[in-house]
Amino acid sequence: MPEHTTYAEAVNAALRLLLSEDDRVFLAGEDIGVYGGAFGVTDGLVGEFGEDRVRDTPISEDAIAGLAVGAAMTGMRPVVEIQFSDFVVNAMDAIVNQAAKLHFMYGGQVEVPMVIRAPGGGGTGAAAQHSQSLEAWFAHVPGLKVVMPATVQDAHDLLLASVLDPNPVIHLEHKLLYKTEGPFEPRAKIADTPARIGEAAILREGSDLTIAAYSIMAIRALEAAETVSDFGIEAEVIDMRTVKPLDMATVRSSVKRTGRLLVAHEAPAPVGVGAEIVAGVVESDALDYLLAPVRRVCGVDVPMPYARDLERNAIPQTENVVEAARELMKS
């Protein structure tokens, strides 16, 4: 494994490690076998581990999530894939009414240690039904955890942490990140992962404003921070990494230092995770440190358009973060 690799490779390496170290782990999903998955993330795994451990399923998302619940309740560690996160709409009962609830509803008799991997986000020209960012739904459901890695290393480490968790975890990957490269240290054992679900990471320190983001927007926020730094604005960039639970302590203490908050995610603003981050700050004593109204940089509240320019306009880009940061400093 190279010192440097892609986000997709890092996920693939995590899956390989999981399959080889823990015989309770198996994969299931549409076209994850010989096809290698719609984005090549599972490439080679069926050859290495066989069709018993890497299972191509019919086009039945409800069954994919439901079989994971049943297998997890009975001792396995399923890691299933929903080919595009948009298709979880067909699996909501298994995820929300079953996986999320059974541990509590059955009085602790069962645990449901399953992971659902799904690529989300826009920018690929696949339009309204293949470009959504739906993390807000899952972050609203008691019993679920939601992980959204932004970096190559986190894509590896957080997936390992997700499988170690005794609860159902939704692991949302961003399509445009799959090909991105970054420094990478593969873990030798699953337990070697340093990632902790619920821990944010400060990607860049800064004293003028706090930018809280996750997934691809954490990367864009970092780019934006470098740009505004040329204008003498030093932004602190926080990658939330997991959106349920949210590491509000890190955001609050940062806001207390900077006095300004900008939140960025690709999903539309209304009732998005960004609203929760904002609320989590202003219901704490961090409110008193705010020097200006908070800003959200989010997707336009519209289904994802197909045309390249429309799509670009519907998705928050680095320059939108730059612009918002500069305006925030003026107010």
Binding site: F26, D52, R55, T57, P58, S60, D62, A63, A65, G66, L67, A68, V69, G70, A71, A72, M73, T74, G75, M76, P78, N90, D93, A94, N97, Q98, A100, L102, H103, F104, M105, Y106, G107, G108, Q109, V110, E111, V112, P113, P142, G143, K145, P166, N167
Partner: protein
């Protein structure tokens, strides 16, 4: 079967005293399905159940006292008072749980069956569902998956002929749930769900088949619900005559007792004492449950997570 009936009658009584919360879905009249299926399963075999699951749980070995405790919102209940009537699970005995979502346990059953294959346990899963559940997409996806992967799961349709107020002929194209098995290239068997021996034998055959790797099957047991769908049902969608006919001439308990006598398997006295035993067991279970400590209200924060 007497235990199930007495249990359900006990539930009605407690409900009438306003000692329960929410509503209850009773299986009075359908006892032979639960009894016939679970009686034919082997040690370690599992079941998944429905909103009308008291009978399934009892037939699969649940302790009536812990079930009453659950309904009575006691800390000793199967789900510590968190689940209630629609969500009783008894995982130790292989009951993976009742489910408040119609057809909600069908894909779960396929998943549990997959574990048996991957672990080569030789165990099977019996998945109870209702006639109304056969029109949910989950029914289709769960059975197709089990069939293409030859999973050891027996899909048991407890056909009491109504989904709430919808008669099967108004809701179910083709008119037969067992008949839908052909769509998946698996066996579909319809039995008299009020004849416990017929249910038992059909289950034994199909369970054996599944255990041997031949894959899933659909068993449709035709029965009838004497009580309303739930406590609020006004029974406007069926006639009193229809209900009466089933009670008087097709009751599963009466029929089984009749056979026990004819076949001289049990004497009248033996039958009578079996009835009384059930009666006493339920009385004791209620008493025990009533005196148990209430569900612990102090521990909700964070309880959603393991």
């Amino acid at each position: 079967m007497w235990t199930i009936r007495r249990f359900e009658e006990g539930v009605e009584e407690l409900f009438s005293y306003d000692l329960l919360h929410g509503t209850m879905h009773l299986s009075i009249g359908q006892e032979a399905v639960a009894e016939g299926v679970c009686g034919a399963l082997a040690d370690g075999d599992m079941i998944t159940s429905t909103h009308r699951g008291h009978g399934h749980a009892l037939a699969h070995g649940a302790d009536p006292e812990l079930m009453f405790a659950e309904l009575l919102m006691k800390d000793t209940g199967y789900c510590r008072g968190r689940g209630g009537s629609m969500h009783i699970a008894d995982v130790k005995n292989g009951n993976l749980g009742a489910n408040g979502i119609v057809a909600g346990s069908m894909t779960i059953a396929s998943g549990a069956a997959l574990t048996q294959v991957m672990r080569a346990t030789g165990k099977i899963v019996a998945c109870f569902f209702g006639d109304g559940a056969a029109n949910e997409g989950s029914f289709h996806e769960a059975i197709n998956l089990a069939a293409v992967w030859d999973l050891p799961v027996l899909f048991v349709c407890e056909n009491n002929q109504y989904g709430m107020s919808m008669s099967q002929d108004r809701s179910t194209a083709g008119g037969s749930v067992a008949g839908r098995a052909t769509a998946y290239g698996i066996p579909g068997v319809e039995v008299d769900g009020n004849d416990v021996r017929e249910v038992h034998d059909a289950t034994a055959d199909l369970a054996e088949r599944a255990r041997n790797g031949a894959g899933p099957a659909i068993l449709e047991a035709v029965t009838y619900r004497y009580r309303g769908h739930s406590q609020s049902d006004r029974d406007l969608y069926r006639t009193q005559e229809e209900i009466e006919e089933w009670r008087s001439s097709k009751d599963p308990l009466a029929r089984y007792e009749g056979w026990l006598k004819e076949s001289a398997t049990l004497s009248d006295e033996a039958i009578e004492s079996a009835r009384e035993q059930a009666q006493d067991a339920i009385r004791l279970a209620v008493q025990g449950a009533l005196t148990a400590p209430d569900a612990n209200i102090g521990d909700l924060e964070g309880a959603a997570y393991a």
